[in-house]
């Protein structure tokens, strides 16, 4: 393939409507805001699974937190009618991701599973993807992080440790997806079963607010839950077509 062909294909293909339909999977997550209690279990589960470093008080103070999934909180009303609403915010794995268009070295791209991939060792640290991302869910390694021995023994061998100057973000726990596909191959199945693969956050959510799966198959749990009447996309007006779909919080006292 010469440069021109690549240029044309990379320009057009991804933008073709239903380009991803021809592939096997379209991994999707739904988050039921009516179930989410904001407890933060997903955050720690993610940190444990994905070797996310401890950045320390000083760096946090400078606004350099590292949490691939974070809990955002929004107050409404004033005392005594104040209400607090939580929303877990993670990489939305957009099908039309702004971050993918801007990376000059294609360190971030869309793969055939509908995942918004980030290749750490290709990243040169322009940080433009973080600027283009309207959800600000991309996190940059401002410096090398170290684990006080023996904390490094906890590191997950299936996930690499990112060096300074590299952008990182939620991967939908691609190592688990990889694992599940591998299993499926061993069992001679073509596809991964529903519920066979779950990202760390989904796996642990105590109130089962998070559902993960492949929306290609209408019988999957995630397909059902994303067809719920309460389904919506955060900042949907931007038409980034996220693969993370939220279910509206129910206000019991309103119609």
């Amino acid at each position: 393939m010469n440069i021109w062909d690549r240029f044309v294909s990379s320009w057009r293909e991804f933008r073709k409507d239903g380009y991803y339909d021809e592939f096997d999977y379209a991994w999707t997550m739904t988050i039921d805001l009516d179930r989410c209690t904001g407890c933060g279990a997903c955050v720690t589960a993610c940190q444990a699974e994905n070797n996310i470093p401890i950045v320390g008080e000083e760096q946090l103070g400078r606004g350099r937190e590292m949490q691939w999934i974070r809990i955002e909180r929004y107050w409404e009303g004033e005392y005594p009618n104040a209400r607090l609403k939580f929303i877990p915010m993670l990489c939305q794995q957009c099908d039309a991701a702004p971050c993918e268009t801007v990376c000059p070295v294609t360190a971030t791209y869309h793969n055939q599973d509908g995942l918004n991939a980030q290749v750490y060792n290709r990243c040169i640290g322009t940080r433009s993807c973080a600027v283009y991302c309207p959800y600000t869910v991309r996190y940059f390694n401002y410096n090398d992080h170290r684990w006080d021995a023996p904390l490094e023994q906890q590191l997950n061998p299936d996930v690499t440790v990112r060096e300074k100057g590299v952008m990182e973000k939620c991967t939908f726990c691609v190592q688990r997806i990889r694992q599940a596909k591998d299993q499926a191959k061993d069992d001679g199945r073509r596809r991964v079963r529903d519920g066979e693969v779950q990202p760390a956050c989904v796996q642990t959510c105590p109130s089962e607010a998070l559902v993960f799966g492949d929306r290609k198959d209408a019988s999957n749990r995630v397909s059902k839950s994303m067809n719920d009447a309460r389904a919506y996309r955060v900042l949907g007006e931007l038409n980034t077509q996220p693969s993370v779909i939220y279910l509206k919080k129910v206000d019991a006292d309103a119609d």
């Binding site: 791209y109 793969n111 055939q112 995942l115 991939a117 290749v119 750490y120 060792n121 290709r122 299936d158 996930v159 690499t160 440790v161 691609v174 190592q175 990889r178 591998d182 191959k185």
Partner: protein
């Protein structure tokens, strides 16, 4: 009017010469290092010969590296695996004596890794063995080596060539190998 640049070139000649020699020097130094201190052929705690085992005695790779069939890592045989044969076989040889020594002290042998991939690469022996890829494609003709050395450059290009040639499904997707 001195339009001609010949005199100028004369003036520059010695400088050019020095630069030239320096460049040659760099090349020489580089290759000297690579030739006399190769990192790809380290000296192992026991002078284990793949030629004798895999070559002359034709022991299949997977006999010792059992894990390769079912795990991402091929694994090195445990000491008692070695002793399984060497309790009797060639027990008198000095190198085997070393082995028995390790065994008696229940000490692990710290082999030096020859074929090593960076931390960010996800390579699973299992899938490649299952796909019937010869070990030699990446590890070189180990059965002929007295001391194992890294012959084939195990670099991204090698992987991709093979994935393209065999039309691996999604074989060129970055996330197939990068973690």
């Amino acid at each position: 009017m001195g339009v001609s640049i010949v005199p100028t070139l004369k003036v520059l000649k010695p400088a050019a010469r020095i630069v030239l020699v320096a460049l040659v020097g760099i090349a020489v130094g580089y290759f000297a290092n690579a030739a006399f201190f190769p990192g790809t052929k380290p000296e192992q705690p026991i002078a284990f010969s793949h030629r004798i085992h895999a070559g002359d005695n034709e022991i299949p790779c997977l006999y010792c590296h059992v894990q390769a069939r079912r795990s991402i890592s091929a694994g090195v045989p445990s000491v008692n695996k070695c002793m399984g044969c060497h309790a009797e076989v060639a027990a008198d040889r000095p190198q085997v004596a070393l082995l028995t020594n390790y065994w008696e002290n229940r000490e692990p042998i710290s082999w030096i890794k020859v074929h090593d991939l960076p931390d960010f690469v996800h390579f699973t022996h299992k899938r490649h063995v299952a796909a019937g890829i010869e070990c030699q494609t990446c590890h070189g003709p180990v059965e002929t080596m007295e001391v194992v050395s890294r012959e084939a450059p195990v670099k991204m290009g090698l992987c991709l060539d093979c994935h393209r040639k065999n039309e691996v499904q999604y074989g060129t997707d970055c996330w197939t190998c990068h973690k």
